[in-house]
């Protein structure tokens, strides 16, 4: 395999992950895209989804992110997120309850559009973890 791409996952509170990988797939606003070494410089918004880290052909880690930004420049990929959960850390047992709670709060939010939107984004994030959180 050719050169590796340096991948950094950063949240406002700390640097979550810094690693090297052969390929990283990030959920861009307009579709997922894979970043390999030598990728063209890109700045992209992210939608809630999964960041997949590949070692060769193998998926080594999957991290769920709740939207953010990705920056690619000369063999380096930086992903800025507000919230991220590694697949192995997802608490499947607690998910349905958290989703139900969130649904209730969306009901309560009613007219408050800004609040409802942020809650709905959160719901999408949680549901995503539920759907694709199962091992393949």
């Amino acid at each position: 395999m050719a050169d590796k791409v340096t991948f950094e996952l950063v949240s406002p509170e700390r640097l979550l992950l810094a690693t090297e990988a052969d390929m990283v797939v990030v959920p861009g606003q307009e579709g997922d895209f894979g970043v390999l070494s030598g990728h063209q410089p890109v700045i992209s918004m992210l939608r809630p989804g999964a960041v997949d880290i590949y070692e060769g052909e193998r998926l080594v880690e999957r991290i769920f992110v709740a939207g953010g930004f990705a920056e690619v420049s000369s063999d380096r990929l930086t992903v800025l997120v507000e919230e991220a959960t590694a697949q192995k850390d997802v608490d499947q047992a607690a998910l349905p309850r958290r989703i139900a709670e969130l649904r209730e709060r969306i009901e309560e939010a009613g007219e408050d559009d800004a609040l409802r939107q942020s809650l709905e984004a959160r719901l999408a994030y949680l549901e995503l973890m539920g759907e694709s959180g199962q091992p393949h």
Binding site: S11, R14, L15, P41, I43, M45
Partner: protein
């Protein structure tokens, strides 16, 4: 001359004060370490966001339709001062020096015929500024809601600032906080938040290639700028938190030392008095015996 008993009581009370200041110093020292770690951990995100913003802003410099968060409203009539202080006192000149800087700036602006609005973050700043700038304070909130400073605390401040900005209630926003240099030295800093000051960081050299934007520059900027605002506020609050603990540590260290000196002085007076009383009693006994 104070009686022996009252001196003894005095010494004991200073001793217990010393115990308290000593404990506060230890607590502040450990909190300082944690605050410093938090400030350090938050640095990568802020740095990378700044870099991204710099490369985006470079392409927007002469765009008239650029977001107002970046280029401002084109006026500088109404200023919003965000004064970030601590919720608690007993930390030396920490709160008052921030308040002093904010007050000076406010007076300068008022003299220049500008309008000033103040948003207080932290209870102490509000208490100090309320005395003479009460009518300018638009709102105040506490610096931290929970035990530790979280990103959501900064988000709350940002939400308020953005709400006011969108209503067109101010043109320029500046935040005041204490920059943490070391445990004994904190520097009051004012930083402009709106319009965003991005000149500080150089865009990355891409070796001739240009960034591709997805979806497009405007949309990314629209999302990135408010985010950047939160990050800047968060950073200021983190710095402030570390500074507060540093200032408290120094203040309490001084207080402990002063209490020690005071105890020494009082003990000296106490001993001298005790001796004087003994001598007096002896004289009385001897002269009594001689008289017989």
């Amino acid at each position: 001359m104070p009686s022996l008993k009252s001196l003894r009581i005095r010494i004991n009370s200073v001793k217990s004060t010393q115990k308290i200041t000593k404990a506060m110093k230890t607590v502040a020292a450990s909190k300082l370490r944690r605050a410093q770690e938090a400030a350090q951990a938050a640095r990568p995100y802020a740095e990378r966001m700044e870099r991204m913003l710099a490369s985006l802003a470079a392409g927007q410099a002469d765009n008239d339709n650029a977001p107002r968060l970046l280029n401002g409203t084109g006026r500088d009539q109404v200023h919003l001062l965000v004064v970030a202080t601590a919720d608690r006192g007993l930390c030396g000149a920490f709160n008052s020096s921030i308040a002093r800087a904010a007050r000076r700036k406010a007076q300068e602006l008022l003299q220049a015929g500008k309008e000033v609005k103040i948003l207080c973050v932290g209870r102490k700043g509000r208490d100090i500024l309320r005395r003479d700038l009460a009518k300018h304070i638009v709102d105040s909130m506490e610096a931290t809601k929970g035990k530790r400073l979280a990103f959501s605390d900064a988000d709350g401040v940002k939400a308020k600032v953005m709400e006011m900005f969108e209503k067109g209630e101010f043109d320029i926003c500046t935040i005041f906080y204490n920059h943490f240099r070391s445990a004994i030295s904190q520097v009051v800093t004012e930083q402009q938040l709106i319009p965003a000051a991005v000149a500080g960081s150089e865009p990355v050299d891409l070796g001739g290639a240009a960034y591709e934007y997805e979806p497009d520059e405007e949309q990314i900027l629209d999302r990135l700028l408010p985010r950047n605002l939160t990050v800047q506020i968060y950073r200021a609050l983190l710095e402030n938190q570390a500074s507060e603990q540093g200032a408290r540590m120094t203040a309490m260290d001084n207080a402990t030392r002063n209490a020690g000196e005071m105890i020494k002085k009082l003990t000296l007076v106490y001993n001298r008095n005790r001796q004087a009383v003994i001598t007096k009693e002896l004289i009385e006994i001897i002269s009594g015996a001689e008289a017989v």
